[in-house]
Symmetry: none
Subunit: 200 residues, 4 copies
DNA sequence: TATGAATGAGCCTTCATTCAT
DNA sequence: AATGAATGAAGGCTCATTCAT
């Protein structure tokens, strides 16, 4: 009757998992913040693990949706990559919570972590595809797709995280930072850092 | 240099922390692998936290040493950046264990994580300095130092991790991959991905 | 006689209690098998305990009915005892479920268990009466009634249980086994095991 | 160093398990009675289940020892059976705790219960062997071994339990009752209940 | 009558840490 | 220096029961 309850648990879980990481997160805390009894969580989710995975899948779907939508507005791979970078930075910045989990819970051999990397690979493939299409059209250099795509993802996500977790008092307006960071990333990824290219 | 026992604990701790992450790592397991009694660890280290921090500091010192040594061989910022990238990839690849902890335990508000990010900032500053010097000399584009440096670090470390944690059966020879990956990163970071630059 | 819903709950409860014992039995499971919502059980029964007691009382009534009916067909205590043994074995064998609960939930100091033993005592008294009447008529040895009656009940019920819970693949036809076991019990209880009796 | 601790846990566990049954028994209570911290139990036993099984195995070993010793004093199967009955009644009476668990936790399909019945079968085989040897020598009637042996065990154990759990105020001296009950069982099992056998 | 979402006390188990030896 | 038995706080999960609909 009330999908409301599930939604509350979900919201609360995102916050708590993000704040504490999977291991330190306490079901008690999630329940408290959601304003439900502990048992209620277990009525809707099989356990901590399932709740977490449901959460991450949800997050991954959202980000993939956003990125795909960004890419549909143009056919030009260069613009598409631009959209990807902006979308990625924007989403991660607004869901720092999710960004943190994505980066910190993706490495390891636990089942959950396997599933995670699989999802992450989808995102990387999105980037890879753009690079591939652009390479075919001659508007991108012939880069080695996968490694480069992963590197681009790593650059964006770590940059966002580092920004989110710096001393809270010196943080500039988020919206401004998002634009700034996306620009810096675009510059790095589009042109690289080396100046003189004629002589090379 | 270090007494036998401590060294064994250290080695064992690296393995266990890397395999399980900080939270899942058990002091029991560390003691078992080190071949010492659990109490012995507490004789040498104040607790789990201290052991972990000591470990990470050690790791950070080693990587910083390696990177600094790489940079001393030349004065040319372009070559220095090359050395940095190679050194970073090489070290992280050989110490995947450390790479994983570095990336997954750096974000959060626990004391230990603060200390971590502080250390990481040192590494980023190393990159930033090179970019700065290169920019001053005109051999680098005038990039926004900090963001770009973080992005470069993120690109390298996530790329290495993704490689280390992919399906174990399709892994090529490590040494080969290290060269390859460093090359791909260098290309990305040096030239970017966009092809036509004539108009610029 | 009983309304549909209650009957379904009853049937389901018998199965679940028998399969899992009182403690391990879950109201959820009982409701599921009965095809009703969990709340429905609580609409008809005060709780788990009451449901269980109702069940056992029902079982005890049935078995007592069956045994009493068996005894009415003759006046001869020897034949009556025969009927008791056959009836007991037959009933327990066909209601292994009940047999198990009877034997395993009867010992302890919880209220429910007291009530149980009280019921069981009724059954034992039935046997005791037959032995008493037979002793008065001279067709039974002058045995100490209560102990012997309990022993007879124990012999029959444990024999049946042991048979019901042995490896499922080597089980012979139930009907056959019932006759067999009743015979063995009759022989034991009628003649005992010692051979030479002339010299005594 | 201190097998003392384990012994205390063992003793306490026997009491608690017997008083409450496996499911209702609380590790907290066992620890409290043993005078140790809860964790101490888990230092020595893997869990509740293992503790319980260890307990039961210990009990079974003790009873088998006692019964085997009883049987060694004579070669005559009739005397041996006498020893078995006396030993069984005596042991169960003195370890009502164990008797209860034996009878109430032996039926079911959980792993632990399988193991239990297996152990119980050993005991039954002891009886079966005596009956077999006696039958071969002609001092026992040619009874069907297994069923009869199970029935004898059931008779003895249920008789003891019924006695142990009757109203506490009307209990006679234990030692006296043990002798009495063993006698009643011997009479039942040796001669049966039917009086006139000449005419039959 | 019947439902099923919600509850929360209760329990088993884990594990970092201590300390007597 | 080293040991390992003992500790106990903490946390995930279960499940009988309630109640608004």
């Amino acid at each position: 009757m009330r999908p409301e309850t599930i939604e509350q648990i979900f919201q609360s879980a995102v916050e708590v998992f993000a704040h504490s990481g999977f291991e330190r997160a306490k079901m008690d805390e999630i329940a408290r913040r959601a304003g439900v009894a502990k048992g209620t969580i277990y009525y809707h989710f099989k356990g901590k693990e399932e709740l977490f995975v449901a959460l991450m899948n949800d997050g991954m779907e959202r980000i993939m949706d956003q990125l795909r939508r960004r890419m549909e507005v143009t056919e030009d791979p260069v613009h598409q990559l631009e959209g990807l970078l902006e979308g990625l930075v924007e989403y991660l910045y607004h869901n720092g919570t999710f960004a943190k989990l994505l980066i910190s819970e993706s490495w390891g051999s636990i089942e959950r972590q396997h599933e995670f990397r699989a999802r992450l690979r989808e995102l990387v493939e999105l980037i890879e595809d753009v690079l591939g299409r652009g390479g075919a059209r001659g508007c991108f250099l012939p880069v080695k797709g996968h490694d480069t795509a992963v590197a681009i993802f790593g650059a964006a996500s770590v940059a966002v995280l580092q920004d989110l977790f710096r001393d809270p008092d010196e943080k500039p307006a988020p919206e401004e930072r998002i634009g700034e960071m996306a620009d810096h990333l675009k510059q790095l990824i589009y042109k690289g850092v080396v100046a003189s290219r004629s002589g090379k």
